[in-house]
């Protein structure tokens, strides 16, 4: 449902901010952070997943450095299990906004023996991509990786700093986080260390959607209601795909769904929805009963799933 052009011209007039549902202070803050990242690091990059949060980051970067090009490439860690719609969209966005795109694949990490494919019913490449990411950071010598994570998504993320220093192994140490005072970001690091930067830390899911609406930003079609082959598992709706090992009693059927987050086809559950337009989506989120990450199968593994993955160097 690409109603909007990707390279939407920034629409913003004095006085518009007051009337807006989106608190524009959040965009000022994100732009300030992006500019600090450009200034404090030698080789920063945007971690681009194809999801709405990283799309918003790309658009914020366009606005932060206009009329110049943002000084960041997009790094996509391709699990090989993407929704095809995400990849089509990614390539269109890169072409229209003029970013450099760098792709590293989990398949390549598997081929080189860095990681082993999981097996069984719940097999997913979600955990494997951490290795591919860390290898890419080392290979490309990135000292800062900009991500679209938000503190409202999950409890461990609620404690994350905007500039999150990672050691050589990409690990997050909650007990040793640097104090972050006022808006003075300290990105000084030792060789081998790098920083994850989260410009939209203070945005909620609704803020992201309101920004997308008010700034006329296009999204991959899977965020809107569409017909799809799905099957039921563990009380969630899973997209049918060649990447999932179904049991014989898991029979696919066709129905109308949309996705609230976009990860791998193996770890993103769909929600039943008729929301075909942005306004419908926003209405639905306002009243939603399920939190955003509630539809993430990867988070369901345990109560502390996210914190454990962050310690291992995950986004």
């Amino acid at each position: 449902m690409m109603k909007n052009s990707i390279a939407a011209s920034p629409i913003f007039a004095d006085g518009q901010a007051q009337a807006a549902a989106f608190p524009y202070e959040l965009a000022d803050e994100a732009i300030y952070i992006l500019r600090e990242t450009a200034a404090q690091f030698e080789r920063p990059a945007i971690l681009f997943s194809g999801g709405k949060d990283s799309i918003v980051i790309a658009h914020l970067a366009m606005r932060a450095f206009a009329p110049a090009r943002p000084p960041f490439p997009l790094l996509h860690i391709d699990t090989g299990h993407n929704f095809p719609e995400t990849l089509t969209f990614r390539d269109r966005l890169v072409a229209e906004l003029g970013f450099d795109l760098i792709v590293r694949t989990v398949q390549d990490s598997i081929n080189r023996g860095r990681v082993r494919e999981e097996s069984g019913k719940y097999a997913s490449r979600n955990a494997l991509q951490t290795v591919t990411l860390l290898d890419a950071i080392e290979e490309l010598k990135y000292d800062a990786c900009i991500g679209g994570a938000r503190r409202d998504e999950e409890k461990a993320r609620a404690k994350e700093r905007v500039f999150s220093v990672r050691n050589e192994f990409g690990q997050w140490d909650a007990q040793r986080q640097r104090p972050e005072l006022f808006d003075m970001y300290n990105g000084r690091i030792a060789p081998g260390e790098n920083v994850r930067v989260f410009p939209i830390s203070n945005w909620t899911e609704l803020d992201v959607w309101n920004f997308i609406r008010e700034q006329h930003i296009a999204l991959p079609s899977i965020y809107f209601a569409h017909e799809r082959d799905v099957f039921d598992r563990d009380g969630l709706i899973w997209a049918d795909s060649p990447f999932i090992n179904k049991t014989p009693d898991e029979q696919p059927y066709r129905t109308v769904v949309r996705f609230r987050t976009v990860g791998d086809m193996t770890c993103t559950a769909a929600v039943r929805s008729d929301a075909t337009a942005l306004d419908d989506v926003i209405t639905e989120i306002r009243s939603a009963e399920i939190s955003e990450r509630g539809a993430r199968i990867d988070d369901k593994r345990s109560e502390a799933a996210m914190e454990k993955r962050k310690r291992d160097g995950y986004f």
Partner: protein
């Protein structure tokens, strides 16, 4: 829509997490699956009510020890505004996180357990709120239900608070008191039938009208973060100075002073989010174009031409130490003021503050983790800082340890 930033403080078990959980719950900000999860977790722990504190205690170590270690950020909104709460830890050893969480707050909510009254942490947290010049402090006397909603007890605590801390309170600070029960949701978002003697607003009503913008009279200031030069044929001569306005306003046509050059020039264009605007205010991230070609780079400061900050090569400041390695005389650090960094040497550690007694002792040997004192620093190059009490957004700095690179301290220019 605007944003109100709140920091919560109080001793362990005073009910911070419960209060925040209550605000989220009553404003319907908790999705059903999260409620189900805490309902299940509450039952596992054998408590017979919805333990709303489970909404914010997120880290594994915190769940194991049942305490809040690090600042957690919590979000909710009403039709009026969006709220960001920094839920800061109550333990003494985590004072640094409390300073961190409170540094951006417009409102500080300090909890007191009605049974315990004012304790050491109350004094500490209020002193920090005053040091940070948080414009609005709300003292929430919690757990009133455990004292049969005793009016006299509340009045006592208020009176004692006012007497004990008069010297501390900045004149501009707004100070409110509120009797509440977070557990039962009384005076949090709904008024309480058990406290008819309290006729003031609920906590949420106070927050809905709290001031979220800095005073308008602050002089205009902006540090340049980066220079934007597209270097394309079409935009060959474009030179924009990108930064976030820290105080006051800038408008097209304004005469400004550029520091350290001390050159006057005029603003020809202002862009925000890539579009042209006429006027920009504190908090806006903008790109400013100037009439004259001046040598400007990262760290240059723009200000109103008739109210510029002085160039300081020495700073006297109140310092709160945040690192395990103490602050000592003669040591050098990297000082970061806004976005500008320079080397700084600790020239003289003048005094150390006993936060609870509010007394200073002269010439301490060092400032250790969580300690607060006054020191003078010598700088390798001039800094254009204001006195923190006059323009807070241009009067604070951090000290970075040169070897570990950690943020080791925060200072407030005196």
């Amino acid at each position: 829509m605007d944003i109100l930033r709140i920091a919560t403080a109080g001793s362990v078990d005073d009910g911070k997490s419960t209060l925040i959980g209550r605000l989220l719950y009553d404003t319907r900000s908790v999705p059903k699956d999260k409620l189900d999860a805490i309902d299940a977790a509450s039952k596992r722990r054998g408590v017979d009510f919805l333990d709303l504190s489970l909404l914010t205690d997120g880290l594994i170590a915190e769940r194991e020890q049942g305490i809040t270690i690090d600042v957690a950020h919590v979000y909710f909104s009403t039709p009026t505004r969006k709220y960001i709460i920094a839920d800061t830890p109550g333990h003494f050893e985590y004072t640094r996180n409390m300073v961190t969480g409170a540094s951006t707050a417009e409102v500080s909510v300090i909890l007191i357990d009605a049974r315990n009254g004012i304790v050491e942490q109350t004094a500490r947290h209020y002193a920090i709120a005053c040091m940070l010049r948080i414009p609005h402090v709300i003292v929430c006397v919690n757990k009133m239900d455990l004292l049969s909603y005793d009016h006299a007890r509340f009045d006592n605590i208020v009176a004692q608070f006012r007497t004990q801390f008069t010297a501390l309170k900045p004149a501009a600070q707004r100070l409110d008191f509120l009797p509440a029960s977070s557990l039962h949701g009384e005076n949090v978002t709904r008024s309480s039938p058990h406290m008819p003697w309290y006729t003031g607003p609920t906590l949420l009503e106070m927050l809905e009208v709290a001031e979220s913008h800095q005073p308008r009279h602050f002089a205009a200031r902006m540090q340049v973060q980066t220079v934007i030069r597209p270097r394309t044929d079409a935009l060959h001569d474009f030179r924009g100075y990108a930064g976030r306005i820290s105080s006051g306003t800038f408008a097209v046509g304004d005469e400004i002073l550029v520091l350290p050059n001390e050159r006057r020039t005029r603003i020809t264009r202002i862009q925000r989010f890539g579009a042209d605007i006429e006027r920009a205010k504190a908090g806006d991230s903008v790109t400013i174009l100037l009439a004259d070609d001046i040598d400007i780079s990262r760290g240059s400061t723009f200000c109103t031409s008739d109210a510029a900050p002085d160039a300081r090569r020495e700073l006297r400041a109140r310092i709160c130490w945040l690192d395990r390695t103490p602050l000592e005389n003669g040591k050098t650090y990297v000082l970061q003021h806004g976005i500008q960094r320079m080397r700084a040497k600790l020239a003289h550690l003048e005094s150390i503050l006993d936060v609870v007694a509010q007394t200073e002792s002269a010439n301490p040997a060092a400032l250790k983790l969580n300690e607060i004192g006054i020191a003078s620093l010598r700088l390798a190059q001039p800094v254009y800082a204001d006195v923190y009490a006059d323009v807070p957004t241009n009067g604070a700095f951090i000290l970075i340890d040169e070897w570990s690179n950690t943020t080791a301290g925060v200072g407030f220019v005196l």
